[in-house]
């Protein structure tokens, strides 16, 4: 049977620019290629700058994961300069990063991923009373009334009748892969709209501590938001109460809307528990230190590696085993294209070798992406919620064990169903519940420390560059919503001499390495993967969205020498 060539570019409802190419035959995908099509060169721009500014520059790698690069950067510089931040600052960073996870995962589920599973047009046929009945069987959420669902339906009906379909234009409505009954579709559409209002509220936690969102402010050495219960311009009881309420509302929505919706919708798509597994190696670098970041045993999300889907052993993670390859990437290495370089000796020289634009196909090219191929011990790794859930489950983490078991039981699927498109989407919900609960503990911890008289949020010891050694280097890690993230910084004569990041979406979206082994996106699309109608690539979107791609994060530049890679005179 002849295979059909498929190009999906742009992949929408993601961060950044991603192109997927595939070959399909007999309703299945036989080959797939993932190409990142944006490059910005931020690490080159870092060179020669003040390391205390690095968080602000690297934060702009991504406005969706808007805190993760900033915190990883602060940790890298604090590691290099041997700075131990005060416990309050550590707890505030946990609260900020925790809320980032919660808000980001809910937005991903409803606004980026849901339209892959939910047919908006079908919602128009629903009986709102039936929707209310369904919703009441899942959760006590007070807004789940027939009146509310009817209002939403009327609104959507008017919208559709206007003939101006806006963001819903040319959606794959009516595609046979949509399985939800109209009542469930209406429920999801109503919660899509509700989640838009909810996320705007709970993210204000970032604004209280960081002044704004996206891109709240951070500070090497702690946090800039001073605590003083007796002043109007500082963190005081009024602001803490606001935080308290946000945490309560965040947890309520996660436990009463997001998680029940996720399990309910998943129950109609159990076949996706056997689709799109791909790479069976998983890496989690660990996150949410209870104490100082150097105390690895205090991480709430544990660190470790799972190999070949074997949950009986959690291998230790050794950052020195990370290497990046460029066999399929538009770069060149001094040692040649076959070399794999650890970030400490990494280098990047952008060298585009693809066809001139506009492109027809990239799949016949040896090199086809701006992503490099990170490998751990020369193996591709999946990172993200599923990696964390598997490492947590296999390590005996109580929270993960309980929730993973609950989801498997409620869906009545075997543990093997975790290694799939459905597994990635379910794992995201599981860790959101864990964090929504954990936020309460961090809040209580902060309040109790303030109550005992400790209001310190910053250490000034190593603030002045004169106090720094002539040379220093540091590694900052952080397990971000999309997976394991590492920043490496080297400082010479008070300036950044090298800055490097290895980012979650680089792991997941990596192209083929020198051995021809595909990256996790590609491997997932080639694992028992359907594609019924290449003109409507709904199934591809399901699997790619289950990774929650963040392309701007994934593409970066490592430069070992400090030399300017590409000089362009614009100014």
């Amino acid at each position: 049977m002849a295979s059909t060539r498929v190009v999906v570019d742009p992949i929408t409802r993601i961060e950044g620019h991603l192109r997927i190419e595939a070959q399909a035959e007999g309703g299945k995908i036989s080959k797939a290629w993932a190409s990142s099509t944006q490059f910005r060169g931020i690490e080159i721009i870092m060179q020669g700058r003040d390391p205390r500014d690095a968080w602000a520059f690297t934060q702009r790698i991504c406005g969706v994961c808007t805190v993760v690069h900033a915190v990883a950067s602060c940790r890298a510089v604090e590691d290099a300069l041997n700075i131990k931040i005060p416990p309050n600052a550590n707890t505030i960073r946990n609260l900020i990063h925790g809320m980032q996870y919660i808000q980001d995962h809910v937005i991903h589920f409803y606004h980026l991923h849901a339209l892959d599973w939910v047919d908006v047009v079908s919602a128009l046929k629903a009986d709102p009373a039936g929707t209310a009945k369904l919703a009441a069987s899942l959760s006590p959420w007070p807004n789940n009334s027939a009146t509310h669902f009817r209002d939403v339906q009327e609104r959507v009906k008017k919208f559709v009748a206007s003939g101006q379909l806006g963001i819903f234009t040319n959606g794959y409505w009516g595609h046979p892969a949509y399985k939800l009954p109209p009542e469930a579709n209406l429920m999801a559409v109503a919660h899509y709209l509700e989640a838009l209002d909810w996320q705007r509220d709970v993210i204000r936690l970032h604004t209280v501590f960081g002044g704004k969102n996206p891109h709240p402010n951070f500070l090497v050495g702690g946090m800039a938001s001073a605590i003083n219960l007796n002043d109007t311009a500082t963190i005081n009881a009024e602001r803490l109460t606001d935080i308290r309420q946000m945490i309560t509302r965040a947890q309520a929505f996660v436990e009463q809307v997001y998680f029940p919706d996720l399990v309910a919708i998943a129950s109609f798509y159990k076949d996706w528990g056997a689709i799109g597994g791909g790479t069976r190696n998983y890496l989690a670098c660990g996150e949410f230190p209870e104490n100082d970041i150097r105390d690895l045993d205090s991480l709430y999300f544990p660190r470790g590696i799972i190999l070949n889907g074997d949950l009986s052993t959690v291998h230790p993670y050794d950052p020195m085993k990370v290497k990046e390859y460029i066999n399929s990437s538009w770069y060149e290495y001094g040692k040649g294209d076959e070399a794999g370089l650890h970030p400490y000796e990494g280098e990047t020289k952008a060298k585009y070798s693809g066809p001139p634009t506009p492109w027809t196909y990239l799949q016949d090219e040896k090199k086809y992406s701006w992503m490099k191929s990170p490998r751990y011990d020369d193996m591709p790794m999946q990172v993200g919620p599923l990696a964390r859930a598997l490492v947590g489950y296999a390590s005996g983490h109580e929270g993960y064990k309980a929730l993973v078991t609950e989801v498997l039981t409620r869906l009545d699927v075997p543990a093997a169903a975790l290694f799939s498109t459905l597994g990635r989407t379910a794992a995201r919900g599981i860790e959101t519940v864990l964090l929504a609960r954990k936020m309460n503990e961090w809040y209580d911890k902060l309040v109790s420390r303030i109550s005992s008289g400790d209001t310190q949020t910053f250490v000034a010891d190593a603030w002045k560059p004169e106090s720094w050694p002539a040379k220093a280097q540091g590694y900052g890690f952080l397990d971000a919503p999309r997976g394991a993230l590492g920043h490496w910084v080297q400082i010479e004569d008070q300036k950044i001499s090298r800055y490097q990041c290895v980012v979650p979406s680089t792991w997941n979206c990596s192209p083929r390495d020198g051995k021809g082994v595909p990256g996790p996106y590609e491997a997932a699309l080639m694992d028992n993967h359907p594609l019924v109608n290449p003109e409507q690539p709904l199934e591809i979107l399901r699997t790619i969205h289950s990774f929650d791609p963040c392309m701007s994060c994934g593409v970066h530049v490592l430069d070992a020498t400090g030399a300017v890679v590409t000089e362009v005179k614009v100014q």
Binding site: I42, F57, L112, Y352
Partner: protein, 380 residues
């Protein structure tokens, strides 16, 4: 006027009918058109002409293209307070193309774009986030296999209004910082045959974005802007002149180190690097995230993100303003010190600091220098 939330703009409803639903009478509408005509210097029949033109406007089409960027501006817009993003997308505008939100991908998405540009030629609002990399034939950002430059040029042709949203679309932002490896530039460097409004900031406050769109829909034109292309209703004043910590600046009460006693009293952040004295921004007035707080309000100095090339001109971010790399003019230090207690000299300080920026720009780019000079006249 009632909010769009409770009164969606429905099928077959003209602007005048829609406004009536929201409590604006036809008489008020015609009166508005007449005064608008007077502003434009039209004769007495001009008002009637404008009214006739606006009466038949349908739910307007917005096309949002995302180029070389981080998606932070999209995230900012979905935090908007009033109208909310849900209201905006369902009731106020027809958002025909948006990578982050639209259901379709690939060919179906690109067809939606082409169809909308064709059907609404000359009438749609073009929102742009992200910069345009020009180096190496624009290969550093492609969508659907086409370069950002090609996509922007095509979409710009049929736009009734162009809104460049965020620092990347404004001037290239972080990727345009020294040494600008991809040759990133802003929208105004590509679209030169029509005005481009710059909603400055990294990212901008969501409410400024929606207010600008609503301004266009309500008044049929883009808001007045400064020489940097930024709407005056948001960027007309310096942070320093609106800052609640200004009294501390004037009284010489400064934070010397983060988390010191002064920081715990909410004193002025000038000495730990605040760029408020050189930054025109709505932050202190609009505030962030439904008016929860703003950077200085949360104890961190302003980094000047609404100003062009701030990554180079305002950094190192924690250095005191006149010592900042971009400035380097020693006598301005004394000037600021001397001016501290005298509010009336604030304008002089502003002038001086802006002069510092202009001097830097003059070495780099004559065009920006020219724009900056105009701006100085405006605010001077």
């Amino acid at each position: 006027m009632l909010s769009p939330t409770s009164h969606p703009w429905t099928e077959d409803e003209t602007l005048v009918e829609h406004l009536e639903h929201r409590g604006v009478s036809r008489r008020d509408f015609v009166a508005f058109c007449s005064s608008f005509a007077a502003i434009l210097g039209l004769d007495s029949l001009g008002g009637a002409k404008i009214a006739a033109a606006l009466e038949v406007v349908k739910r307007p089409t917005v096309i949002w293209i995302q180029l070389q960027e981080c998606t932070g501006c999209v995230e900012s817009v979905i935090r908007t307070a009033e109208p909310t993003i849900g209201d905006l997308v369902l009731d106020v505008i027809s958002l025909d193309y948006s990578h982050t939100l639209m259901a379709a991908s690939g060919t179906a998405a690109e067809k939606a774009l082409q169809d909308s540009m064709k059907a609404n030629g000359g009438k749609y609002i073009l929102l742009v986030t992200g910069s345009v990399p020009l180096a190496d034939n624009g290969i550093y950002t492609t969508i659907g296999g086409r370069t950002a430059k090609e996509i922007l040029e095509e979409a710009g042709k049929g736009a009734a209004a162009v809104i460049a949203l965020g620092a990347c679309a404004h001037f290239g932002s972080v990727q345009a910082a020294r040494p600008n490896p991809t040759g990133a530039v802003g929208v105004r460097d590509i679209i030169k045959d029509k005005p481009v409004v710059n909603i400055a900031g990294c990212p901008p406050i969501a409410d400024v974005v929606t207010a600008t769109v609503v301004h266009f829909l309500t008044f049929g034109r883009l808001p007045e802007v400064d020489a940097e292309g930024r709407p005056l209703f948001a960027y007309g004043a310096r942070i320093h002149d609106q800052c609640p910590r200004r009294a501390n600046f004037d009284a010489g009460q400064y934070v010397e180190t983060f988390d010191d006693e002064a920081a715990r009293k909410g004193w002025c952040l000038y000495k730990v690097g605040c760029k408020g004295p050189a930054t025109y921004s709505p932050c202190p007035i609009f505030q962030w995230n439904t008016r929860t707080s703003w950077p200085i309000g949360a104890g961190h100095p302003c980094i000047g993100c609404t100003e062009p090339m701030f990554w180079d001109t305002m950094s190192p971010f924690y250095d005191r303003l006149p010592d900042v790399g971009g400035f380097g003019i020693e006598n301005k230090v004394d000037l600021i010190g001397a001016a501290a207690a005298i509010g009336a000299t604030a304008g002089v300080v502003a002038h001086a600091t802006m002069q510092g920026i202009h001097n830097i720009r003059a070495k780099k780019d004559l065009n920006i220098e020219e724009a900056g000079t105009k701006k100085e006249d405006h605010h001077g």
